[in-house]
Structures are given as C-alpha cells and as structure tokens.
Symmetry: C2
Subunit: 199 residues, 2 copies
Amino acid sequence: MSAPTRSRQEERSAATRQRLMEATIECLVERGWSGTTTTLVAERAGVSRGAQLHHYRTRSELVIAAVEHLAEVRVAEIRREAAGLPQQRTQAVLDMLARLYTGPLFVAALELWVAARTDEELRAALVPLEARFGREAHRLTVELLGADESKPGVREAVQATLDLMRGLGLASLLTDDSARRGRLLRQWAKILDQTLREA
Amino acid sequence: MSAPTRSRQEERSAATRQRLMEATIECLVERGWSGTTTTLVAERAGVSRGAQLHHYRTRSELVIAAVEHLAEVRVAEIRREAAGLPQQRTQAVLDMLARLYTGPLFVAALELWVAARTDEELRAALVPLEARFGREAHRLTVELLGADESKPGVREAVQATLDLMRGLGLASLLTDDSARRGRLLRQWAKILDQTLREA
C-alpha cells in the first residue's frame, strides 16, 4: 500500500513545483528581478515557506528552475507546432522564433541575465543554463529550417538569426515594435533562404 | 567684468555635470540600476548633494542625461574614426558597431531598458530617448555603410544589422563571446554587402 501513497505525494510535489515556477515567471515579468522575492512567490503560488524551501533552497535556484522549465515547455511547443508547417517554412519559423523572443520567457530570462551581471550567486547558476539554452535554441533552429551546417556560412547564418531575435526581443521591451519587426523578418527570410540555398 | 565670472561659473557647472555623468555610467556598469543611487553617484563624483540636485532633480533625470551624453560622445567618436576608413569598409563598420554594443554604453542603457519595464517614471523618460537613439544609430549606420535606402530591402538590412548588434551585446553580458562574434560578423559582412549591392 506504500506505492500509491508515495505516488500521490509525488504528484502533490510536482503540482507544488509547477505552481512555484509559474508564480516565479509571473513575478519576474510583472516586477522584475528585484521584485521577485521568495516570500512573494510563495504567497502568489499559495505554497507555504516550508514547502517552498523544501523544493528550492535559494532565490537563484527558484528562478533558474522556473526559466529552465518554461524554456523546455516552449521549445517542445514549437517543435509540435513546426511539425505541421509546409516545406517552404522559413518565414513561419522566423515568426515562431520571434514570438518566443518577445514573450514571457525572454523577458524573464532577460531580467536574470541583467541581474546576474552584478549578482555573483545568480551568475554562477545562470551561465551554464545560458550555454545549454543557447545550444538548444541553435539545434532547434537548424532543425526547423532544415539547415545543413556542413556548408560554409550556414552555421553563422543560424547564429545570426538567434542574435537578431534577441535584439528584436530587446526592441519590444518598452514599446510595440511588431510592425517594424514584421517587415524586417520578411526581408531576413529572403536573405536567409538565399544563404541556405547558395551555401 | 561679469562675463568672465559667469563663464567661470558655467565652466564649473559643466565640469560638475561631466563628473556626475561619468560617475553615473560607472555605477550603472558596476552595480546596475538598483545599485545606482543618487547618493552613491554624488559621493563617487565628489559633488555635494545640493549641487547634484541643482543639475539633476531626480534619479531618472540623472541616468537619462548620462546615457544620452555618452551616446553622443560615442557616436561622434565613431564618425571621426570612420572618416579614415577605406571604401571597402563593411567589415570595419560592423566591428566598430560591435564595440559600441558590447561596451559600457550598451550595458548602462540595458540596465535602464530593463528597469524601465517595471518603473513608470523611468519608462516615461526613457521611451523618447530610445526612439531618438534608434533613429540616430540608424542614420549613422546608413552613412557609414554608404547604403542607399531608396532601394528595396536596404532599410530592413540596416535595421537588422542594429538588432543583431543588440543581440550580440546581450550575448556578451556574462561571458566572453568575442570569438563567435568575430566569425558571425565576417559572415554578416558578406551577406550585407551582397544585399546592398544587389538591391
């Protein structure tokens, strides 16, 4: 009779972690890093301080887990969505990436990036995540574009696409940049297609 | 005899403002927005609180003035530096822009961008500056590249170059990204040259 009990407890634990991670992203988006205290997150998630500390010992652990989790969810969503795309898909792929880099994941991650510049504990935790997420975003983009990285210039064009997305994410922080972004991405889709074909 | 007196006072005022602006950028780079208090800036600049308040009434006014001033200085430097460049200059121009977007100006501006997301007073002051700096950076890049924006796609290619620079700035916040950035910019120079020629 102990197995089902343990399983119910595991389910409760998973639900608690899920609520904490969602509350963390909401706090980061609404109040930024400085407003994202563990107390506020626990309150918003409806989780006791004890339960929170059981799952995440520090503020850094909590925010890193939240951003990592959301990144996994979003990347999986994009892979599913991309499965239905036609062969001529460059523009659609860029639009999907742009949604990712102008959404809550980018905003939350940006809050951490900037805070980590001047917070050593956060920085130590964030640098490996940034490297892992960078590799994952690159792999995803290669896959979605059907890019052949053995051809010269293709790897850099994929990287440039992701750096461009980060720049577009920044440009949409304070004002609505969607019209300009749309025109720019239509042009980049042409250039990127040419680069992928030519190479 | 009043003119030279006034002029000496003006000189002292200008020197005070200069020290305050330099101290503000140093604080933003070293401690971020949250660590950039008016008290700390006055201390670091060796300026009395009264003198500081005489020149900049609020923290927002101070940081906006500092970033605006540094942007003007850097843009003027780039224009001077670019005057000596050869006709085939795309790669050199990209390298100059990349230095701008991975240096103290970008870091200080980024601190303000991110803080302004969740600080209404700062946001109200920053949005017009962001628009003005965006236009100025665009104009500078068009000028340096000798780009003809009446041709289709050229305007978007210049914009993409600046969005890319912002992305590269972000990518170099926590780790040394210079080797990757160098390879990427060599490829971007080829793509950009082709776009400017073809159009």
